[in-house]
């Protein structure tokens, strides 16, 4: 039995004398006080009330800690604490002392505790301390006090004796359990329950037969506790007790608790009982019986109960699947796999999830076959998740890969997603193969997966894929995948070299367009040169791709060609894309006053309020007198006044510390804030 709480009897009496390192964690002085100082401390603590300084209490606590390793000091400290238990001390002082004595007190403190037990105001303090005492004199003290205690005090002492499982108090508990005071009756009954003896049980049972209402419930509680205690010391009696508590007239929770306990106590007979319950109609007990299948010791249990699905309702089948999954043996897996054919979707999904938890390489094919048999979205998702989560490491990865030839279309695409999420070794080789699939769904899935798993090693193959003839949705996935792989590389120089090589060799317009789209990820001068060159290409598609690449450029090197393209472009959508890129680049220089020149150049080229709004929206982030002037100029333009006001306000607030006059003048031009 566990060694704490319920075995207060076995509390180890404090050992004195062992020297040990004491770590002081208080800011108060660590040096132990001399006798006079200790007396002074006691005197100060004795008058403590809330609201006063706690210094003397903390000092006394520190002294108590130091006393743990100093027998002489311990004796003095304990004597001082005992003094604090006297009625002359404040209640809070007595409470403090009792809490300290709870872990340092010896038999010397018992007389004073006995006095506390006589007073209903302090009986709780005494019991708080006495609970931690070893069996023997503390129990005698409590029993003696019980004789004269009434009401709440009586209840407190009964509770404490009950927690201490004092067998010598059995007669007293029995008497209390017949008391007219409901609180005393409850305490007595509970204490009997905690004793957990046959004698206690035989007291409680007849009492309960006669009791009604709340009293009956109280006795039932005590009997459940008693039976649990009996299980450790007298299992046969406990089994009889639990059998009686499973009777149909008992409350559901009690029947369920009794069955669970009975099954734990009778593992050899448990299987038979569970079978009877599963075949029967007792709905209250079925869940408990099904739950217990998980821990049945018999190696045949999985097979035996795997055959019970036919008698169960759908919810019960799900529970049985969970229980079998806990067993996780071959019989369980087979039984669960059988439920993949269940008519109920939730049961099938439960089976799939369970196989994901307990399966391995040998389970892949089972779930793989189910892929082709179902169209249910939830079920497909469950299979995907199960295969991703499935243990078995490399073997399972290989089993997934080996299953590929068996499936096509959406199923194959799903398996590719699984491979990507598992990130097993060999996955990328399969993905590179599958990205060339004639089935668009499969090809796209492979690229999506490679976006996640691809490394520098896969870049040449991805570039080669872009060079092939690809349908437009597939090409988009291929571009995205390649871009994401490049983005993940910490050193892109070599990979970007390959991108440029491919671009220079490419003939087809769509291939060049795809490769141009990768150049911003590279962002270096050589790539910029290629983009600039392509921006002058006679093929409009290539020119368009180049310009868009420039608009996504990550650094200011692209400003000039981008600006030139913006200046010269007449197509509205393209102008906006270019302008967004320029504004993004300008923002890189917001800390420099010279950025005003860039914004001025943009506003000079802007065609229409739409473009001006885009510029003003970013201008507000550049806090300089020069940009303020630029923003002010647009306050008079009706179509962009609102945006200009926002920009002026933001810039003025930003420059106020260094340019208060300019800021004030600018703000004065704005309508007041509402």
């Amino acid at each position: 039995m566990n060694g704490i709480v319920m075995t207060m009897k076995n509390t180890i009496y404090p050992l004195l004398g062992a020297a040990a390192l004491v770590v002081s964690c208080w800011p108060a002085p660590a040096a132990t006080p001399a006798t006079n100082d200790l007396q002074q401390l006691i005197s100060e603590v004795s008058t403590y009330h809330s609201g006063q300084s706690l210094e003397s209490l903390r000092q006394l606590e520190a002294t108590v800690r130091a006393a743990l390793h100093d027998p002489a000091l311990r004796a003095s400290v304990e004597a001082g604490l005992v003094e604090l238990l006297s009625p002359e001390a404040s209640y809070e002082a007595r409470s403090f002392a009792a809490k300290q004595l709870a872990f340092i007190g010896s038999e010397k403190a018992l007389p004073a505790m006995g006095e506390l037990l006589k007073d209903p105001q302090t009986v709780g303090l005494a019991c708080l301390a006495l609970t931690t005492y070893p069996p023997g004199k503390a129990d005698s003290l409590l029993r003696q006090a019980l004789a004269n205690a009434r009401g709440a005090a009586r209840v407190q002492i009964l509770n404490t004796l009950g927690d201490r499982r004092d067998a010598r108090s059995t007669r007293l508990f029995k008497k209390a359990a017949a008391d007219a005071d409901p609180a005393v009756f409850e305490a007595g009954a509970a204490a009997l329950g905690k004793l957990g003896t046959r004698r206690a049980w035989s007291t409680l049972e007849p009492l309960r037969r006669k009791a009604r209402g709340a009293a009956n419930q109280t006795l039932l509680e005590a009997m459940l506790v008693c039976a649990d205690r009996l299980a450790a010391s007298d299992p046969k009696s406990a089994v009889r007790a639990y059998t009686s508590l499973m009777a149909p007239h008992e409350p559901r929770f009690a029947r369920q608790a009794a069955l669970a306990a009975w099954l734990r106590l009778e593992p050899d007979a448990a299987g038979k009982r569970i079978s009877a319950i599963l075949a029967g109609s007792d709905r209250d007990l079925k869940p408990v019986a099904i739950a217990a299948v998980a821990t049945l010791p018999s190696p045949q249990a999985s097979t035996q109960f795997g055959g019970a699905f036919g008698t169960l309702e759908d919810a019960e089948k799900v529970w049985l699947i969970e229980s079998l999954a806990t067993r996780a043996d071959a019989g369980a897996k087979a039984a669960i796999a059988g439920q993949l054919a269940a008519t109920n979707l939730d049961v099938r999904i439960a089976a799939i999830g369970a196989l994901g938890d307990i399966g391995g390489a040998d389970t892949v094919a089972i779930l793989g076959r189910r892929l082709s048999e179902t169209q249910e979205a939830d079920e497909l998702k469950a299979i995907e998740n199960a295969l991703i989560a499935m243990g078995g490491g490399r073997e399972t990865d290989q089993a997934v890969q080996a299953f590929f030839p068996s499936v096509s279309g959406a199923s194959r695409a799903l398996l590719l997603s699984v491979l990507a999420r598992r990130q097993g070794s060999g996955a990328n080789a399969v993905l590179l193969q599958e990205m060339r699939s004639a089935e668009a769904a499969v090809s796209r899935a492979a690229f999506r997966a490679l976006a996640r798993t691809g490394t520098e090693q896969e870049v040449p193959a991805l570039l080669a894929a872009l060079e092939a003839q690809l349908a437009s949705p597939v090409r988009l996935e291929a571009e995205t995948a390649t871009a994401q792989v490049l983005t993940r590389l910490t050193d892109r120089a070599a990979a970007c070299g390959k991108v440029r090589e491919a671009l220079e060799k490419a003939k087809a317009s769509e291939v060049q367009s795809s490769l141009l789209g990768l150049l911003p990820v590279c962002g270096d001068s050589a790539s910029l040169d290629l983009a600039k060159k392509a921006a002058a290409n006679p093929d409009p598609a290539i020119r368009d791709a180049a310009v868009r690449a420039l608009s996504e450029w990550p650094n200011l090197e692209a400003w000039d060609p981008l600006f030139a393209a913006y200046r010269d472009s007449t197509e509205p959508a393209l102008r906006v894309a270019l302008l967004r890129g320029l504004v993004r680049l300008a923002a890189e220089e917001h800390a420099k006053p010279a950025v005003a020149d860039r914004y001025r150049a943009l506003t000079d080229q802007a065609k229409g309020d739409g473009e001006l709004k885009l510029i003003l929206g970013s201008l507000g982030g550049a806090g300089h007198p020069e940009t303020l002037q630029l923003a002010l100029a647009f306050l008079s333009r009706e179509g962009v006044r609102a945006e200009a006001e926002v920009a002026v306000r933001k810039i003025a607030e930003a420059i106020k510390p260094k340019h208060p006059e300019a800021a004030r003048d600018a703000l004065a031009k704005l309508p007041p804030k509402t």
Binding site: N2, S50, L68, Y91, T132, A187, V318, T326, G353, R452
Partner: protein, 443 residues
């Protein structure tokens, strides 16, 4: 000075009327519940597919701030029906009832100043316990004895002994119990766990955790309790103390009524640590904690302001919890010999080294503020009678770590712990395993 009114609990005005599991078995029981199956739910009677007669009827014990924060997670489940609230403060009782009534658009919710009356109702199947800490363990024990299933906020107990009693009581009464350590059902933490268990940071050797620094509370004198506040009930099992406003409003900072921030919040992270390390049925074997405490001249609270608490498992894994910094600086980090992974508790962000670990993360999943998955786990288990993810043994073992640290802090000692016998090597520490409740309350 007011002294305990020993008759208060007996119908004063204002009150409406008054079991070691074998390791294989444990692992099997835990394995059954750690990964909720993906089941849409109609077969289990979830999400609207439940007839009114089959709805699980809930009461709420404690309708303060935490209850208000978490109730929406419960109320979103159509298969649950909240029928009663209980609180010892009249203002909270009234507002709690209103919250439930407003949700259902009626006035059917019952209100009880004495939670025992609520527990006595045979039509209530389960309770949500969101009281102050001193009522978490004991309230759960009362609810279990009344045959109710339970969701109880953390920290689940005040002492190690209370925790063991909680485990025993739930076993004795067949209770389905879920502790409110909902991060086990949170995507970010599950991901961190999966990455550690898949060995992606190598062998874990250190766990780091952080909770925030406490504050000093200035001394105040006792005053009468506010009107409409049953203070005796409010105190519950705690040793009697006169009503002092600063103590009542900041109960987390006093040993009598709570256990300080190290436990209050730290239990979330010790729970995660236990889960990830696979030690839910055991725990560390060494504890040492040091702290800075409030200046007793100026301040009245007795739990630490800052602390550094360490422990060590038999496997050699060590852990440290820092109590320092701001509230938003909480984190949990697993450090292995090939990297580390960290969850920032404020933002739910996951960082790791090597960064490539993060590429395994799927999308979606709620943050810890949404406890729906945790509640769903409980609801499933109420029907199946299996144990949810944070069942009593799990919760107790996680709490034990924090409570052992507190004992080390208070004794100023390094402690060795036997997780099988649940005993320390220091006698005085063993005498701090349990605190006898103040009558009439009993564990």
């Amino acid at each position: 000075m007011s002294t305990p009114n020993t008759s208060l609990w007996k119908g004063a005005p204002g009150i409406i009327s008054p079991t070691r599991v074998a390791r294989r078995r444990f692992l099997q029981s835990v394995a059954a519940v750690t990964v909720p199956l993906i089941v849409p739910g109609s077969v289990l009677g979830l999400n609207g597919a439940t007839s009114p007669a089959n709805r699980i009827r809930f009461g709420v014990f404690g309708v303060g701030n935490r209850a208000r924060a978490i109730l929406p997670n419960f109320l979103s489940f159509k298969e649950l029906l909240f029928v009663a609230v209980s609180d010892c403060r009249a203002d909270r009782l009234e507002s709690g009832k209103k919250l439930i009534d407003d949700h259902y658009g009626n006035s059917a919710c019952s209100a009880y100043a004495d939670f025992r009356e609520m527990l006595a109702r045979k039509d209530i199947d389960a309770v949500l316990i969101a009281t102050g800490n001193r009522w978490h363990g004991l309230g759960s024990i009362y609810a279990a004895r009344a045959g109710k299933d339970i969701y109880c906020e953390k920290p689940v107990t005040l002492t190690i002994g209370e925790g063991r009693k909680l485990v025993e009581t739930c076993r004795q009464f067949g209770t389905v119990y879920q502790a409110g350590t909902q991060r086990r059902c949170t995507a970010s933490y599950r991901f961190a766990r999966d990455m550690v268990r898949q060995g992606r940071i190598g062998r874990v050797h250190t766990v780091e955790m952080q909770v925030w620094a406490g504050k000093g509370l200035e001394h105040e004198a006792e005053v009468p309790p506010p009107a409409g506040w049953n203070y005796d009930f409010w105190l519950g099992q705690a040793p009697w103390h006169p009503y002092v406003p600063v103590r009542a409003k900041n109960w987390q900072y006093f040993w009598d009524t709570a256990e300080g921030i190290l436990s209050d919040m730290g239990c979330h992270y010790t729970d995660q640590m236990q889960w990830v390390l696979g030690t839910d049925d055991t725990g560390p074997v060494e504890f040492e904690a040091k702290g800075e405490f409030p200046d007793p001249v100026k301040f009245c609270n007795d739990t630490p302001l800052t602390a550094e608490a360490r422990c060590k498992y038999a496997s050699g894994v060590t852990a440290v919890m820092y109590q320092r910094g701001e509230f938003k600086e909480r984190y949990l980090r697993f450090i292995g010999d090939e990297g580390w992974i960290q969850v920032d508790d404020e933002t739910d962000a996951v960082t790791a080294e090597p960064k490539s670990i993060l590429s395994f993360r799927g999308t979606g999943g709620a943050g810890w503020g949404d406890a729906s998955d945790h509640v769903r786990d409980l609801v499933r288990c109420i029907r199946s009678r299996k144990q949810p993810a944070c069942h009593p043994e799990v919760a107790h073992r996680a709490m034990t770590i924090c409570q052992a640290w507190n004992i080390s802090l208070r004794l100023g000692r390094k402690l060795k712990w036997d997780p099988v016998q649940e005993r320390f090597d220091v006698p005085e520490a063993n005498r701090m395993l349990y605190r006898e409740p103040r009558a009439p309350w009993r564990a």
